[in-house]
């Protein structure tokens, strides 16, 4: 979704030539949000102590190693062996020292480096009928809420209704509202993020037309997504998010004096939300999908000699109460002949808790007709 908050459009022209690819290095901690147009520091934070110290040691070592072939050429094979041995001792000593140093470096407190950096998370997502990616988010520990993954949005947007529900109050006169903690399904988390509490027309429209069972509570844009290396594979049901050591700047907040109206066509776009609402009223909102859990019997199964075998009846389960025993062969369920576990699974696919489930089992030579009452659980 190409999202450009109406107010953000009033931002001043960038101070840096467009297309400039070199990032401007900036010491961490310096706020870039107030200066529109500045590119974020992409590489090499000065406070990245671990990386620098290790890198430094590495350079020293490789320089000495590089001198070795020259020394070899001037000596006899025997001498070379000795030299190699000497070097090995030297090397071992150096390695030991290196190890100690590494350990020291590892122990050295380095508050600047976020322990999350480099961690990968499998983030479950849902693809809507309109080809939008939704992930679930908790805001300040509350939720979960459905958020759109949208590189076309410049920042984090939280719908006003959602913000109200969790008591996320936009500060008076401030454009951004601070969010202490953002947890994503799959384990990724961010702290101290700025959100814009607003209802972009795209959200209004989508929610009016109604995605079954889902309302969209906000949009994850650049300022959230850029903190991760994102991998999107449409053949998998999860995305991979790897935390980067990268703090994207907030997009410029609109100047207070900028009260000029957005271009007429953008105003037209903003009308689309209400239009969609109106269209929804005419077309009728799609009814929500009704979900219900399947009932459970408590049978552990496998296949043996072309039949479905009861490996184990879980104690106190519906199957145990109904008289099924370990080792029984299951031949019929709900009037379906079942010769495989797959067929048995299909036979019970629509069973609800409380349903009566007639089954036929073979126990040795004997055939038994039993009636189970499906229970809750998984």
């Amino acid at each position: 979704m190409l999202l450009q908050s109406r107010t953000l459009l009033a931002a001043p022209k960038p101070t840096m030539p467009l297309g400039a690819s070199k990032p401007v290095a900036q010491p961490r901690g310096e706020k870039t949000g107030a200066r529109p147009g500045r590119m974020p520091a992409a590489f090499g934070h000065f406070s990245d102590l671990v990386g620098r110290r290790v890198g430094f040691l590495f350079i020293l070592d490789s320089r000495e190693a590089g001198a070795a072939p020259v020394a070899f050429r001037r000596r006899s094979p025997r001498r070379i062996l000795m030299v190699i041995q000497e070097r090995n001792v030297l090397m071992n000593r150096r390695l030991a020292r290196f190890g100690v140093l590494l350990a020291l470096v590892a122990l050295a407190p380095d508050k600047a480096r976020d322990p999350e950096v480099g961690k990968s998370y499998q983030v479950p997502y849902r693809l809507t009928d309109t080809n939008h990616f939704l992930v679930r988010v908790r805001i300040n520990g509350k939720g979960p809420f459905n958020f759109l993954v949208d590189t076309g949005a410049p920042a984090l947007f939280v719908a006003t209704e959602t913000a109200r529900k969790i008591g996320l109050e936009p500060a008076k006169g401030e454009f951004w509202t601070p969010v202490e903690r953002l947890d994503f399904e799959g384990g990724a988390r961010l702290t101290h993020i700025k959100a814009r509490v607003e209802d972009p027309f795209q959200l209004v429209g989508m929610n009016a037309l109604g995605l079954p069972g889902v309302s969209i509570d906000g949009i994850l844009g650049f300022t959230v997504l850029a903190r991760f290396r994102l991998e999107l594979d449409p053949t998998r049901d999860r995305m991979t998010w790897t935390r980067l050591d990268f703090e994207p700047p907030d997009p410029p907040a609109p100047r207070r004096e900028a009260n000029e109206l957005p271009p007429a066509e953008v105003q037209a776009m903003n009308m689309l939300g209400p239009v969609a609402k109106f269209a929804a009223a005419l077309v009728g909102r799609q009814p929500e999908e009704r979900l219900r859990p399947r009932g459970s019997l408590g049978l552990e199964l496998d296949e043996a000699d072309g039949a479905v075998r009861v490996v184990r009846v879980l104690a106190e389960s519906p199957a145990a109460r109904g008289g099924v025993r370990d080792g029984d062969r299951l031949t019929r369920i709900l009037d379906y002949d079942v010769a495989s576990v797959k067929a048995a699974r299909e036979a019970v696919a629509n069973v609800s808790p409380g349903d009566r489930v007639p089954i036929t089992v073979r126990r040795g030579e004997e055939v038994q007709e039993l009636t189970l009452t499906a229970g809750e659980g998984l």
């Binding site: 467009l18 939008h132 049901d237 552990e300 998984l378």
Partner: protein, 294 residues
């Protein structure tokens, strides 16, 4: 092949899609995988590397050659369900003819197909696009003093395993075998489709041996309470106890009973998965290996 079909019938859905204001009139939310509808093979085999530029407005822009013409500047937008070209670029690249009919609103020209789109190391073949002048794109281009020619959306990137690295300013695309559905084609039918509530049964993929209850605490609830654990079941073997609050199954949140079943639906028998429970204020991660059965 340049073409515009059924323009009038499609203006409404296209406008809505273009505003990306629209949404699902359809039915199921597919967990992860989309239904295959119009298969289209991904071109090439290797992983392609694409540099991108960040606009001061935090949008990603790539430079692409379309049908050998260009380069054109396109916004890469994971939130866009379609790929979109402005009229100027579409005519310049021969995607549509200059005299193709256009609608009054946003100069919509309709659907067309790009024969080749080259961006970085990547060549995309036979890509369906919508031709119209997106007002926000135009406004952005004006603010930034450099025009933007279109938007790359789902219909392109869903052909690939896509990685986006904002720090390195690089994307990679690796072809996957995935049929990308054409939204424009089935949307009008969906708009007038039947309004029957769909029922769906959430079936666990294996036998766990536990029951869960309704969560307490509404939006601050961490998960569902475990009501019972069957003796000798996989759940019991893993150490789950009644009274535990189940918060996560295999990396998925279990904030409702339905959530719990939906998470268990993707776990196969014999698969050992982490399950997180809260017990006496402590968070415990237990490994459960559910068995074949129900």
């Amino acid at each position: 092949m340049p073409m515009t079909t059924n323009l009038r019938h499609r203006i409404v859905p296209m406008t809505l899609l273009a505003g990306l204001a629209i949404a699902g009139i359809g039915t199921a939310l597919t967990p992860g995988r989309a239904q295959a509808e119009s298969p289209k093979a991904a071109s090439g085999k290797a992983k392609a590397d694409i540099p991108f530029e960040m606009l001061p407005t935090n949008h990603m822009v790539v430079r692409a050659r379309i049908n050998g013409k260009g380069p054109f500047r396109l916004v890469f937008d994971v939130g866009a369900p379609i790929t979109l070209l402005g009229n100027k670029a579409a005519v310049a690249s021969g995607v549509i003819q200059a005299n193709a009919p256009r609608a009054l609103l946003f100069s919509i020209r309709g659907e067309a197909e790009v024969t080749t789109l080259e961006v970085g190391d990547l060549t995309v073949k036979d890509l369906p696009v919508i031709v119209l002048d997106h007002p926000i794109l135009k406004a952005l281009g004006e603010v930034l003093g450099k025009p933007l020619d279109g938007i790359i959306g789902y219909t392109l990137f869903a052909r690939y395993r896509t990685t986006i690295d904002y720090q390195a300013r690089r994307m990679t695309f690796e072809p996957v075998d995935f049929a990308v559905r054409n939204l424009i084609r089935d949307l009008p039918d969906r708009l007038v489709g039947p309004k029957v509530a769909k029922h769906r049964v959430l079936a666990p993929g294996a036998l766990w041996g536990l029951t869960v209850g309704e969560p307490e605490g509404d939006l601050s609830s961490p998960g569902v309470p475990v009501r019972s654990v069957l003796p000798d079941s996989p759940a019991a073997a893993a150490g789950v106890r009644p009274g535990d609050v189940l918060t996560t199954v295999d990396g998925r949140w279990t904030t409702s009973i339905n959530d719990t079943y939906a998470a268990a639906a993707t776990v196969a028998p014999g698969q050992s998965v982490p399950v997180v429970v809260l017990r006496d204020g402590q968070e415990l991660t237990l490994m459960i290996q559910p068995v074949e059965g129900f």
